[in-house]
C-alpha cells in the first residue's frame, strides 16, 4: 500500500506484480479453455499415426460428408449474401419507419437455439407439419433430406453478412452514389462500380464468418438431417456418428479438418481486421459509429 502511494506521481504506474499476475491468469485461462481443446483435436487425430489419419479422412463416407458440407455452404452463403447486400442497401442508404425493429428482427436467429432452428422446419415441412401431407403427395422430401439441411443452415447463418454490411453502408452514406447518378450512371452501374468497391472488405468479412458457421453448424442440421450416412451426413454430423461408435481416431481426424477451417477463418479474419481496423468495431457496435478513434 505504501509503495503504491509513493508511486503515484508517475503517470499510470502500476505494481509490476499485479500486472504479471493478471497476465499469467489471463493466459492460463485462455490456455486451458482455448489452446488445450484445439491441441487435443490434432493430437487425438494423429494418435494412431499419419496412416490412420489419412485412411479416416479419405474414407468414402467422410468424403461424402465433406462434399455435402461444401454443397450446403455453397448454396447457403450466396443466398444470405444477396439478402445481406439488399438489407444493408435498404437500411444503410435510406430512412424509413421501423428501421430499428427490422434490424432487431434480422438479429432474431442469433437468439434462437440451433435445435429450435431445426425444429421449426420439422414443424413446417415434416410429415406431421403444415405442408407435410402436400409434400408427401408429390414425393418431395425436405426434412431428413438435403433441402432441410440447407434451410436450417440458412436460418442459423441468416444475420451474419447483413450484420457486417449494415454498419459499413451506414458509415459510407450515399454521397458517392448520388454523385455517380448525377454523372449519368444508372442504378446498377452505381452499385457495381461505386458501392461494391467500398463495401468489399466488409462483404468478405461477413462471407468468411457466414461460411465458417454454415460448414460447422451441428444442432440445427442434426434435427433435420435424419443422419443417413452418405446421404444427409454433413461433416459435423459425421464426427458425431464416428465418435458415438467409439471410432475416436476417425472422429478426431474429420474434426481436425473442421478445426483447420476454423483456424483459416480466424487467420483470414485477422488479416482483414489488420487491413481494415474499423471492421471489428463496426461489427460489435453498429449504433455507435461516430465515436472518436482511439488515440
Amino acid at each position: 500500500m505504501m509503495q503504491t502511494l509513493t508511486q503515484t506521481r508517475g503517470p499510470r504506474r502500476r505494481p509490476q506484480l499485479a500486472r504479471l499476475l493478471l497476465i499469467v491468469l489471463a493466459l492460463a485461462f485462455l490456455g486451458i479453455f482455448l489452446v488445450l481443446p484445439l491441441l487435443a483435436v490434432f493430437v487425438q487425430a494423429l494418435a494412431k499415426g499419419v496412416g490412420a489419419y489419412f485412411a479416416a479422412v479419405s474414407d468414402p463416407m467422410a468424403w461424402s460428408a465433406i462434399k455435402l458440407t461444401i454443397l450446403v455452404a455453397a448454396v447457403a452463403v450466396p443466398l444470405n449474401l444477396v439478402f445481406g447486400v439488399a438489407a444493408a442497401w435498404a437500411i444503410g442508404k435510406f430512412e424509413f419507419r421501423g428501421k430499428s425493429a427490422l434490424i432487431t428482427l434480422i438479429d432474431l436467429p442469433f437468439a434462437v437455439s440451433p435445435v429450435i432452428a431445426g425444429l421449426i422446419f420439422v414443424l413446417v415441412f415434416g410429415i406431421h407439419g403444415w405442408f407435410g401431407g402436400c409434400l408427401r403427395m408429390h414425393h418431395i422430401r425436405i426434412v431428413f433430406a438435403v433441402p432441410g439441411i440447407v434451410l436450417a443452415t440458412l436460418f442459423v447463418t441468416f444475420p451474419f453478412i447483413a450484420r457486417e454490411l449494415i454498419p459499413v453502408m451506414q458509415a459510407q452514406g450515399k454521397d458517392n452514389e448520388e454523385t455517380a447518378l448525377s454523372l449519368g450512371a444508372n442504378g446498377w452501374q452505381t452499385f457495381w462500380h461505386v458501392t461494391l468497391p467500398n463495401i468489399r472488405w466488409g462483404l468478405l468479412y461477413g462471407v468468411l464468418l457466414c461460411n465458417a458457421r454454415a460448414m460447422g453448424e451441428f444442432g440445427a442440421v442434426s434435427v433435420v438431417s435424419g443422419h443417413i450416412r452418405g446421404m444427409t451426413n454433413t461433416m459435423p454430423l459425421h464426427v458425431e456418428i464416428l465418435y458415438n461408435e467409439y471410432n475416436y481416431t476417425a472422429a478426431f481426424a474429420v474434426a481436425s479438418l473442421l478445426a483447420l477451417l476454423a483456424l483459416l477463418t480466424l487467420a483470414g479474419k485477422s488479416v482483414l481486421e489488420w487491413r481494415r481496423p474499423e471492421l471489428r468495431r463496426a461489427a460489435r457496435k453498429p449504433r455507435d459509429r461516430t465515436r472518436r478513434e482511439r488515440t
Binding site: 482455448l34 437468439a111 460448414m215 434435427v223
Partner: protein, 273 residues
C-alpha cells in the same frame, strides 16, 4: 417526403422483408401456432413434468454460472489485452474468437477428451474427486468455452476508450490501484459487463453441440433442454418438443430485448461523457 434520388429502395426493402418472412418469421411462428393448438392445459402438462423442469433448470442454471465465470475471466483477459504488452499478444487476441469459429461438435468432443477421467485434465482432476466429464460440471465447462468471446469482445472497445486521465487523477489524489479500479474503472464498465454477460448467457442457454458430448445426458441430472427437445422429436412427441421450445424462445427473446435496451443505454451513456 423528399423524392428519393437513389434507386432500389422498394426492391431491396421488399426482398429483405420477403426473405426474412419466408425463412425466419413464418417458420418461427409455426412453433407458437403449434403450441396454441395444444391449449393451456396440455401446454402446462408438457412443460411441468419433472424431467422438463430439471432440463430447463440445468440449461439456465449452468448458463448463469458459465456467464459469471466469463464475466470474471473475460474482464481479466480484456484488461490484459488492452492495457499490457507481452509477446504474441496479437495472436492471443485473435485466438479469443476461436469458440465462434470452431464447430460446436468439434469443441464438444475435444473438451470431452480433455476432461474424461483419462484425459489430459481429467487425470489431474479425477483423483481430487472432481469429475467434470459426464456431470453438470461438464455442461458448465462447455458453456464457458462457447461464451468466452462475448465478454472479452464487448469489453475491449470500452476499455480502449477509457480515459487514462481520470485514473491518473484518482491515483494523484492518493487512491490505491484497487480503489481506482473499484471506484473509477468498474463503474464505467458495468454496461459492457452486463451486455457481455447477457450475450454469453443467451448463447449458452441454447447451446447444443459442444454440450451433449461432455454432459453424459442423464435425464434429471445432466440433460439440457435442447437435447430434451430432440429426444421428444425422435419419439414423435411434437407437442412436448414444441412446448419446451416455446418456453426457451420466450425467455431468449426477452433476454434479447433486454440486451438491446442495455446496448442503447450503454451507447447513450458513452456519448454523454
Amino acid at each position: 417526403m423528399a423524392r428519393r434520388v437513389l434507386p432500389g429502395f422498394g426492391l431491396t426493402l421488399g426482398y429483405t422483408m420477403l426473405y426474412l418472412s419466408l425463412l425466419v418469421l413464418i417458420p418461427l411462428s409455426a412453433v407458437f401456432i403449434r403450441s396454441l393448438g395444444l391449449g393451456w392445459g396440455h401446454f402446462w402438462e408438457a412443460v411441468s413434468t419433472p424431467r422438463v423442469i430439471a432440463s430447463l433448470r440445468l440449461s439456465f442454471g449452468a448458463s448463469l454460472i458459465a456467464a459469471l465465470i466469463n464475466v470474471v475471466f473475460g474482464l481479466v483477459v480484456a484488461w490484459v489485452l488492452v492495457r499490457y504488452t507481452f509477446p504474441f499478444k496479437q495472436l492471443i487476441d485473435a485466438a479469443v474468437d476461436l469458440p465462434f469459429a470452431l464447430p460446436t461438435a468439434v469443441a464438444g468432443i475435444a473438451l470431452t477428451a480433455l476432461y474424461a477421467p483419462n484425459g489430459w485434465l481429467g487425470v489431474w482432476l479425477h483423483p481430487l474427486g472432481i469429475n467434470v466429464a459426464f456431470t453438470p460440471l461438464g455442461v458448465v465447462v462447455a458453456m464457458t468455452f462457447i461464451g468466452l468471446p462475448f465478454v472479452v469482445r464487448t469489453l475491449q472497445p470500452v476499455l480502449e476508450d477509457l480515459d487514462n486521465e481520470v485514473e491518473n487523477a484518482a491515483a494523484t489524489l492518493g487512491a490505491s490501484g484497487a480503489q481506482t479500479f473499484v471506484r473509477v474503472i468498474l463503474p464505467a464498465l458495468w454496461p459492457a459487463l452486463f451486455t457481455g454477460f447477457a450475450l454469453a448467457f443467451a448463447r449458452a442457454v441454447g447451446e447444443y453441440g459442444s454440450v451433449i458430448f461432455i454432459a453424459g445426458n442423464m435425464p434429471m441430472k445432466s440433460e439440457i433442454a435442447p437435447l430434451l427437445i430432440i429426444t421428444k422429436l425422435e419419439q414423435y412427441d411434437y407437442a412436448g418438443a414444441t412446448a419446451i421450445a416455446v418456453v426457451m424462445l420466450v425467455l431468449s427473446f426477452a433476454l434479447m430485448l433486454g440486451i438491446n435496451a442495455l446496448q442503447s443505454w450503454a451507447s447513450s451513456r458513452h456519448g454523454g461523457r
